[in-house]
Symmetry: C2
Subunit: 116 residues, 2 copies
């Protein structure tokens, strides 16, 4: 089920959502952090630091730091993998799910309000 957008709609949607997100959310996640968060919540687990780093095309410390930040915000959680204790499994949280649910609503509403 593809989404067909005109150039005006595409940029207009991004514009409206970015604007509203800046105005409303004090947290101000970076694009990388947002990409990581969405990857964790939209792609089936398990998620590891190394896996996320490869998917995003960034180094591992970037993922570690992003998880530190978003963990402090309660958006994600980390648990040792007991089957291979070198790994860390990144877990979703209720707060993170709520955050993305609200963000999804924001996108939907701004898309609905587009009048270009």
């Amino acid at each position: 089920m593809p989404v067909e957008l005109t150039p005006s709609q595409a940029l207009g949607l991004w514009h409206a959502v970015s604007l509203e997100q800046v105005r409303v959310d004090g947290r101000d996640l970076t694009l990388r952090q947002m990409a990581i968060l969405l990857q964790i919540y939209l792609v089936p687990p398990p998620h590891t630091v190394r896996g996320l780093a490869m998917t995003l095309g960034v180094t591992k410390p970037v993922i570690t730091r992003a998880l530190d930040t978003m963990g402090a915000l309660g958006l994600v959680d980390r648990v040792r993998d007991e089957r291979d204790r070198r790994n860390v499994i990144i877990k979703r949280t209720v707060e993170g799910a709520l955050y993305l649910e609200k963000f999804g609503d924001l996108i939907i509403n701004q898309g609905r309000n587009l009048s270009l």
Copy 2:
């Protein structure tokens, strides 16, 4: 012409675009910078520092710094307003227009590839 999206489509679109943008673009504009850039290019001029600050709901130094950064990247330009020399008029650039055109294409393509 509204855009109707399901929650999966909304978050899936944001996910795909963010991911691709992280992988491809080394510039890594913040959400605020992106919102400012889109405001400049999608809303009829003139744009001033104060106006952008009010629209975004942020302080003026935030705008000044964002314009510094994006100006260094060639994405925007600044010109003194000769009618009221206190003002600075923010100008669009060819490079900025190309940047957003490519970004719009990215959104359109990722939307088209959505298969949720």
